[in-house]
Symmetry: C2
Subunit: 371 residues, 2 copies
Amino acid sequence: MAIEEPGSVPEAVPGGEATTGPRVARSTLRRVSAGRAGRAATIYDVALAAGVSHQTVTRYLNGFAGIRPATRERVEKALKELDYRPNLAARALNSGRSQRVGAITHELDQFGPSKILQGATAAARDAGFVLDIVTVDLARPDVLNEAIEMLRRHDLAGVLVMSSTDTMSEALATADFGVPVYLGAEPDDTSGTDPSELTQFGFPALFDHLVGLGHHTFLHIAGPAEWSAARNRSRAYSTALAARGLSSAGVLQGDWSARSGYEAVMAAPDLAGATAIVAANDQMALGAILALTERGLRVPEDVSVAGVDDIPEAAYFSPPLTTLRVDFAAQGRAAFSTLLDRIRGEAHALEPALHADLIVRRSTARAPASG
Amino acid sequence: MAIEEPGSVPEAVPGGEATTGPRVARSTLRRVSAGRAGRAATIYDVALAAGVSHQTVTRYLNGFAGIRPATRERVEKALKELDYRPNLAARALNSGRSQRVGAITHELDQFGPSKILQGATAAARDAGFVLDIVTVDLARPDVLNEAIEMLRRHDLAGVLVMSSTDTMSEALATADFGVPVYLGAEPDDTSGTDPSELTQFGFPALFDHLVGLGHHTFLHIAGPAEWSAARNRSRAYSTALAARGLSSAGVLQGDWSARSGYEAVMAAPDLAGATAIVAANDQMALGAILALTERGLRVPEDVSVAGVDDIPEAAYFSPPLTTLRVDFAAQGRAAFSTLLDRIRGEAHALEPALHADLIVRRSTARAPASG
DNA sequence: AGCATCAATGTTGCCGGAAACATAGCGTGT
DNA sequence: ACACGCTATGTTTCCGGCAACATTGATGCT
């Protein structure tokens, strides 16, 4: 029930004698008309209803301990009755900080980025934050600058840049948000930490598996070199080969898409003698499988194919794809968590573990006898 | 270069004689210390630099015509020198409206929803808005309420609910955001408009294609009934069959996932004699293809399979999938556009056209002779 | 010439919350 | 019994933008 009678002060202050008058001074009453239908209750409305000053309400909301139980009770009651919710714009205006984090992303339709975003939003929600999302088009740098500009106006607590490509990194290197920025969901090879330790993904396990099946000549389909994720995976491929005394028969250049995997394999006349193809993601592996099939090669009898990511569809490819399962949602959560720690000024010791599990399916099998 | 000397008023007002003193009154100078390093310039800083009142700056920013050219020029110069950007939190606090739209979504990892989101964010960016994204988990209604709660505090201009399921609709029916809400990217069968006109997608074209190939017994793999998109597609399937005097041999229940398509086909002993399977999305079609293959049936020689969506991978399935291409990004853009019109109080006559193009690939072929 | 009018611009106050500062009242030590 | 100090609470001010109102000077009309 809404408060309508201006004179009906609920819960008159017990100790308020007529001689001293109400303890609430005039300035506190400046918004007598508040509480009207439609508009949300403010701390002033709550203060009025509770017979205290707005500052006491603020103190209660901020967990200040020194409030008398009786006062505390009245405030609680008023808060509940008026269904008070803090106005975050006012809080942001005052403090210069908001409960929002900007997120710049592109290629949202791709599995990895969108899953990372999902993880980040979930982590944000749990922390009471929302993500302000702006998508950009890498082909249009002006849009990126415009997006940065938009985010700058929004009193953000921080900025999360979801997919780390060189274009993004360069554009953001010059941007000054005035708030913490977390760039990328995968540690870049320029990040200073030893990438060989962090970014092996599950490649060692994958190559143990393949070598165990008798393969010793491999072909890699790489992602676009501009992406740090693509570079990391290519390096993990090379590192794993080198560790086993093997060398790559070649690297085909893809762009993450199934089409690029298809075309890369179609353009490689004899596969350089490889018996196994390791693509940097599942989509390119899918394209490779189709290309091999069209060239009359059976998967996995003639050529084994493996991917990375374990997109939900990978288990239902024909044949089901052996792949490295990457926990993108965890990456997104970790990214947000790191950013949140930076926002709060805390050091974040936890390095993102780029763990990946080998998922063996039917697209990899024993190498053909002829070798 | 930052302004540091308190006395160095840039661009002294030309007409300001010593007798009358500067035209800027004391109240305008209340933020003399502004312009310090770090903090962004405000209209007061700009006013000070230009030698005008802050209100003149506001008027300039809001496109007020009655400003003398000389004054206008000074304001422009000050704005540029100080690199002024409006503080949107202050604007939101004052007006109760922001340049942000809330977006509630789930299943962000799925192609349709994420592509719709991408379209919506692009449209939002073009309109100068950002999307505040909150993902929810349909299995946890408390999270949804919490998400609604969070968005309510953020002075949003509107709310966009991306994927329309009954759970979402019900939860949002009782939620009062106090701002326009756009629910769903596909018109629901309960939306009042004649769904048979709007939501045929490309099913007529698909069935023309299949019937032309000699098929007359069909099986449908439906999406989860809770999704309006799934209901729309199932109805479009039935409608298209009825229009041709054919009837369905059965409807298998899926949940959008490739796994569900696989399991549905595995569980259907003889496919009810169908020679063609029409899945409500490409993932379920993919699962169906694998299941058919494992059961010794060839696609498309023995059974034709078609999907809906045209996800980027569909062209590289084995065999490449015949499907109906849906323009999700356009749906997302249309959804945002409709919401924006509602926010601005304008009627939005444009109905979202659920257009879909038939993409014929190798997964559909002539029906086997025996029929 | 004098007054109404209008164009251009300045001043005040409000949005909702929170920090900084102020004050009333109570207990305690001597 | 009185000063001191602390606790609980009240008051003022600020964040940055904008609306409403106020003011100034020039023009036009009679």
